[in-house]
Symmetry: C2
Subunit: 240 residues, 2 copies
């Protein structure tokens, strides 16, 4: 690749990031339905045609926004995987990372939900779909690795249950909690103080339920939390 082509490639990538930045902002403000490509073109100061040089259609664009966020999430998960300690402390680090991500990206779960609509996957390009599933695998493996090890070292010893079932449960609890917390009506009905904390708490209950040692009552997880925050998120400001 010549020097010129390399520069062009860089410029193209930068423009794509610019488009994604604004698309994310508008998506967050208006939702997918009301995302207007004429307005987006206006915002990034390129023509609508140029948008289509990057993305094959609106779904493809939205999927890319979601994938970029998912990548950041996967990065956080893998970082959390570096945390040292008992396996249950490590899965907790992933839980905290997940909450931290949700705090920083209040719209992410909305976007992810949007992706569950079948029509999306019909229209998005194969390439973007592949990139998305790559990042999805990274988050899945981050969790599953820890669960596997927990079985290996005997911190989980539930007979008749495969590691993947536990991973599936953890993902379900986490996803469900965040989605449910995002539903204002339910959050109000349940008088939830901190919708992010509730996902962690539900995770604790689930882990206790499968008997993942050390159980919540048998360990100082407040200390673990503090260590997680110091080691993994030293920059973040913790209000509680």
């Amino acid at each position: 690749m010549s020097a010129t082509t390399a520069r062009k490639e860089r410029e193209r990538a930068a423009r794509e990031e610019l488009i994604l930045d604004h698309a994310q902002r508008l998506l967050l403000r208006d939702g997918y339905q009301n995302l207007n490509l004429d307005e987006l073109a206006e915002a990034v100061e390129y023509s609508k045609g140029t948008l289509y040089l990057h993305f094959s259609n609106k779904e493809d664009l939205a999927l890319s926004v979601a994938t970029r966020a998912l990548q950041e999430r996967a990065d956080l998960f893998e970082q959390a995987n570096q945390f040292t300690g008992r396996t249950r402390e490590r899965i907790r680090a992933v839980g905290v990372a997940c909450g931290e991500f949700a705090r920083q990206h209040p719209a992410y779960f909305h976007v992810e939900l949007m992706l569950k609509s079948a029509s999306f996957w019909d229209r998005a390009s194969e390439e973007r779909k592949h990139l998305h599933s790559l990042q999805a695998s990274r988050t899945f493996l981050s969790v599953n690795n820890i669960v596997q090890e927990a079985f290996r070292v005997g911190d989980i010893s539930k007979v008749g249950t495969r590691p993947e079932e536990v991973t599936f449960g953890l993902v379900s609890v986490s996803m469900g909690s965040h989605i449910a917390a995002a539903s204002r009506e339910l959050a109000v009905a349940c008088a939830l103080a901190d919708p992010f904390a509730v996902a962690l708490k539900n995770g604790d209950i689930f882990c206790d339920g499968i008997g993942w040692k050390p159980l919540f009552a048998d360990w100082d997880y407040a200390a673990t939390d503090q260590r997680i925050r110091q080691e993994l998120f030293p920059q973040a400001t913790w209000l509680h």
Copy 2:
């Protein structure tokens, strides 16, 4: 109200059901984005204008489809509430009802997810929104009643936890499991045999986690299941 007016009202209601039936079918086949009102008008053999005599816009129509399904769900939940036995057996009856509903309405969770998109609630009519929240309350209360009683009789004795938090957890686990199970990729990665059974299993784990007595290991829940199926769903055919 005169006899004529009464008849007209009946006819109008019947037409609305007809529209909702076909809308549900097309929504299931094509998703919300690709639901075409011209095609729907064609299918129900009324003009497009007539659709707008019933629903103020496309979102309003989709919300109505969702509400109708939710009503059926709330009916099942309230039926399940009649089940007699220990509180944990009763919550299990609700769980089975939830799974039975998911089996009968494979699209429901997709539609419910769609509703989480903010733009929906901006455009739907106040009346339809109210009807929806009414049905949502019914399902919430069905679960919350049992949880309250479990605290009252001492089957749950977790200090520092309010009943509503437990209810929120149960809803999260159930919703999360069904959504996660609907995601083909994850279900395949985890090699799930029965995506419906997994929601129940996750519920068991969660209940064990909060120490809801009798614990899963201390009671013959297979027998409870059989009783639930005989008493609540005698008509259904059980493959397992």
